[in-house]
Every structure is written in C-alpha cells, then in structure tokens.
Symmetry: D3
Subunit: 137 residues, 6 copies
C-alpha cells in the first residue's frame, strides 16, 4: 500500500524581491512593496510530503527521526533566521517563494531514498502558498 | 519548472438551498436546515491555485497584482456580501458550494492566460470544502 | 480553585445591517456593503467561557453535557441557519455582532447556575471578533 | 461536472506504537517516545474527500446526511474515545496513523456507492498528517 | 512597562476520566465516553502566559531559552507521551483538563522568578479549552 | 453596555535583535539566532481590541472604516514590508515584539477617541505572542 506522509516545519527568514534583469521601475511594478530596499520577512511553513510504500513491519512510510534529520540539515540550518538574499543559492535566483520551494525540493530529493517521492509546499503568509510536486508524486 | 501558486480570498454571502425540481418535502430531506425560507450565510474562503512555468526573470508563476485584479472583478465584486440566490448565475442553478466552486473556476478560466491552469477550492465552513480541478491541472 | 472553561460552538446565519434611525445614505456610510438589501451571511464561532470553582469530586467546572444542552436550546436552535433580521430579538435592535454577542450572553446568564460566570466571544470572520465579559467574570 | 467534496470529522483516541516483530531496543529506535508502555493519545482530524459527478437536480456530489451516517457508523463509533491497540483491526497491525488512514479508507470504500471515489487524510497532530488516495481518485 | 508574553507548547497524552468517589453509573453520567475503560487521548496545546516588566536593555519580558527550559523540565518531560492516570500527580485527582491546567500552573509558579506572573491555558481539542489565571495576573 | 471589538491585521517585516548595551557574546546568549547579522523576518498578526459602549443607534462599538484608517496610517504604512531596525522608532529600542506591541499601542492610543480603550496583541509566530493591555482596558 502506498500512502503520503506529510510533516510541517517552520522557518523565519527575510528576503527582498529584486532582479538585475529588470529596471528599478520594472522591479517596483512586478514586486510592489516586496522590492523595498531593506527587505522584509516571513514565517514560512514548509510542508514536506513523502510518498512511499507502508513498511509491513513498522507500519510507517518513512522514519520520522531520519526525515527530521534530513530536513534539519538541508533546510532549517541553512535557511532559518537568515536573509535569503545573502545565501549562495540565491545569488543568481530571485528568492521568491516559488524558487525557495523548488530549492528545498531539490535538496531533499538528493538525500531521500530513491523509492520515496517528495513534494514540497511552502506557506509564505496565511494567504499565499506554493507547491512543487514532481511528476509521478 | 512548473509549480502551483495558491492564494486565499474571503467572501461573505447568504444563500438558501432549494430547487423547484423537488417537492417541499424532498427539498427538506435533501437540504435539511439549509432549506430554511429566509436563508442563512457563510464566510467562504476561496483558494485559487494557478499552475504554470516559473518565469526565469521574475521567479514567479503569475503576477499577484494581476491575479488579484482578476479575482476582484470576476469573483469578489459579484459575490461578496450578496445573497447568492438573487444573482443571475444562480437563477437556474441551486447555489450549493459545489456549483459556486465551478462557477468561480469558469469565470477565472475565461480571463486567465491559456498557459496557466486554474483549480478552485472553496471552504464553506471549517468542516466542509469543495474542489474543482480540471484535468491536467 | 476557580478556573475558566471555554467551549466553541458554530452557527451559520445571514443578516443585513440597517436601521430605521438613519437615512439610506447614513446607513450606507456606517455599514458599507453590510447594508446591501438582500443581506449576506457568516459562519459565527461562539465561544462560551464559564468561570467557577472546580468540583473536588469530578474535577470539572461545569458538566459539558448540561452546558451543551443550554447552548443548544438558547443559542443554536433559535439562531443557526436563520436570517437574524427576521427574529424577534432583532426587531428593534440592529443585528450587529456586538448585539448578537450580548443577546447570547443574556440568554445563557438566565439559565446557567448563579455561581458560574459567563463570558461570550463571537468570531464573525477570521478578522473580526467581539466579546462581552460582565464585571467580575 | 466532477468535483471533490471534503468533510472533516474529529476523533480522540490513544495508541501505543510497538510491534512484536522487533526487539525492545528496535521498537524504541523506530518509534521513540511513541513506544512508551502506557500509551499516549491524539485528537485526530479525519478528512474524507468524496469525488463524483455533481447531481444536476440537487447541485451536490453526495448527500451530507448520508455521508455523516456512513462515517459515524464505520469510523467514529468504532474509533472515537478508544484505545486503538485494543481494537480488532489492530490486533495484527501497528496502529500508526498510516495504517489508521488506510483502515478508514477501506471501511468507507465498502459502504460508499461505487461511482464515488474516496480519499482519506488524517491529521495526527498539527505537524503530522497522512493521506491515502487510491488511483483514479 | 508591563506586558504579557505567551508561548505555545504541545504535548500528546492519554487519560481516562473516572473517580472512585462515584459509582459506575455516576461516572458514566458525568464523564460520558471519556469514562471508557481503556482510555483515549488528546494533543494538548499548553499556552504559558508570563507577565512582567519589559527589561529596558533587552526589550524582553522573559528570556525564552530559560522559559523553554522550565517548561521542558516541569511540563513536557513528565507529561508528554504519557498516560496521565499513571502519573503520581493524578493518583488522587481526576486528570480532567481543569486539573491538568492547575497542576501545570503550580509547577511553573514554583520555578519562575517571583516578579513574573504565570497564567496557563490548555486547549484539549479544537472545541474545549481551560484557563487558570491567578489573581493579579 | 460595554463590549470589546477585536480586529486582526497582518504585516510582514524583518528585524535583527541586537543591542549596543551588551557585548557580542551577551547578545548571542540573550537573542540566540535572532541576533544573526543579516536579520530575518516574520509575518506579524496584530490584533487591535477596542473597548467601549455599544452605540444604541448603530449597534457598534467603533466604526470599522475609521478603525481601519487609523491602523493603516499609524501601523501598516510605517511597518509593513520594512526592516524594523531601520525605522526611527527603533533607533534606541531593540525591535523585540514586546517593544513593537507597545509602540503600536501608543500610536493607536494617540489617535483613537478617549472614551475607547485599546489593547494590542501581536502574534510573532504561531508559537509566540505578546500583549499590552493598559490598566482599565
């Protein structure tokens, strides 16, 4: 039997939406107040959905302690309480929540066992959220 | 990279569930207290999920200002703080939340660019919700 | 030992904010879109807070089955799935949530034992709420 | 038109995660504090998603009164306010939330009409949730 | 300037409501299905409200790391993932949430500095909550 | 009749907790990862509670349009999507949420009519919140 297990993690970070590819006026038009020069911040809720077979002995899709370890090392330690714009991952990528979501999924994809699928959903505010679900997940 | 962007909107409206196709007794059996003659109301939460490619320059699936404009014009202005039964859309259609959900999706489908998919999910109360996800979304 | 016990109930109703004491223009100025003639609706969350001594034998402030009975009879049956403007309680009183909150508290005050205090808090939407806490509660 | 209707139910139960298939040390390694001998408990939120055609006359995917009856009989009565480990369903199955989710889906699948799909999602805590969505749902 | 700082903690536990002071029939009448012999469980949310002067240098009412330490040692370690009925604190006290709330407040009162007030609020389910606020807090 | 009206507003901002009054090591000890040099951010929920007499004609404690105007001008415009450390209000004050809460209350106190009380509660994350309730409110 295949099932999905979801687990929520929380991180706080600041960002500024701005790209060199656009003029100041275009940045302002596209990102509105998110382009303010000093940045602003969010509490992000990161939902990690792991799909896989339920292990017949343990009754679990994935050991939560191991999942917590992967998410801690790949997501919470590098991103929590940071300014996203200063991180290497966002040197050539605007730190929109779309891009943050995909960056998190890629990092987890690399470390999770290949027989598990991984979908990532990030809530940026209580009104906005983003999801990256790879094909077949 | 394709991702989904979700955004929540809120509207308050009243409705009465009742159809001429059924007798009074049948209406009462099917809709229970929702058939009360003076109507009642809800705070609806409308989640609009937009799927599409992340723009390489802006890092966004869809400009939120434009999305807000479409939802304002097509959904909030016609439906917020109204009695759904008095609206043209529900003259020949019972204003169940199933039908409201599909009506909202159709209106947004008409105005959103064709390369974006649109799924609509409506929370009627904290216990009931409805979703219309077209094939391929 | 005195403690407070809180219990949440939910009801859906419609209302229209409008008073004969004001002109049409004043009604519109004060109540905005809440004055729309056909009414609109809400899911109200009613929090009933009961304060009293913890009974040494049962460890409870108030028997929940009895509390549910009182709230059912005095609040849910008369108000749930109704149009508040058509009810007797609001014939000479605008059905704002302030007034609904006080009406609910008065009804419960009449039936609850005198050694219990009762405070009522009503959430009208996820952004607006109202509370009536009598002195000493 | 096909749509999904979702409805939330709540139940409180206790469980202990422990399997005879593993040694004490392995049980402790896999389940952590969830293996504590006296058990512990949760408020589970069970979301039942029913997919189907919207009935042209009633505007509904599924009669909520009938759905509530099925869920009451198949899920709430047997599981609410119980110790899951003592139930027949979990005599040879660890009562993880993965297994609870699948057990609930199977029971509802048996009683729901064949033209409706049924997906079950169980929130175990505000951080952990599980979903079983059969193919085609 | 005095302010209140609130912090939420979560714990899962099982309990059974039953007292030797009452007959079986009375236990069943008072506690309903909460008297089921094998117990059941909850995810409790414990809100700790600490009142005090804002420190002029740090801008804080209370150091969160120290608060977390006190709550961990006095509340989470003894109660999380336990069966409340088996604990010493509830040998002569029915483990209702009223009594749990007061027990938690007493334990924190003993270890928090005397110039801080402490109020405890426990959410037992999404519908029931309890608060113990000492005079002057 | 006096009642309380509460209204929720949301703002996103970044901050860094750091004071010149302490050494680097002390800053790190007091503020932990909140002292990270590049700052981080939050979605703050600001609850404004206004207490007063219910107007007999309108049935309202306070006109919501006027309240929204005051909060917009005094709170949302100066603080939303900003880095709190760069604002004049926090040049000599660490931008902890305790201090933000009191700053917001003072600003609203200045513009609200004198017969209304004003209490401010700020949720910094889903686990931390702060309240400033002046005496008599």
């Amino acid at each position: 039997m295949r099932a999905q297990l979801g687990r929520r993690y929380r991180l706080s970070a600041s960002h500024r939406l701005h790209t060199e590819a656009l003029s100041e006026a275009e940045n302002r038009a596209v990102y509105g107040k998110c382009a303010n020069p000093h940045g602003h911040g969010h509490n992000y809720t990161v939902e990690v959905l792991v799909g896989g077979e339920i292990d017949a002995a343990t009754g679990m899709v994935c050991d939560l302690t191991r999942l917590d370890g992967w998410v801690s090392r790949e997501v919470l330690e590098p991103f929590d309480h940071q300014n996203l714009n200063t991180l290497e991952a966002f040197q050539n990528l605007v730190p929109t929540t779309e891009n943050l979501c995909i960056e998190i999924q890629k990092r987890l994809r690399k470390v999770l066992p290949g027989d598990l699928t991984v979908t990532v959903r990030v809530e940026e505010t209580s009104n906005n959220f983003f999801e990256y679900r790879p094909e077949g997940a």
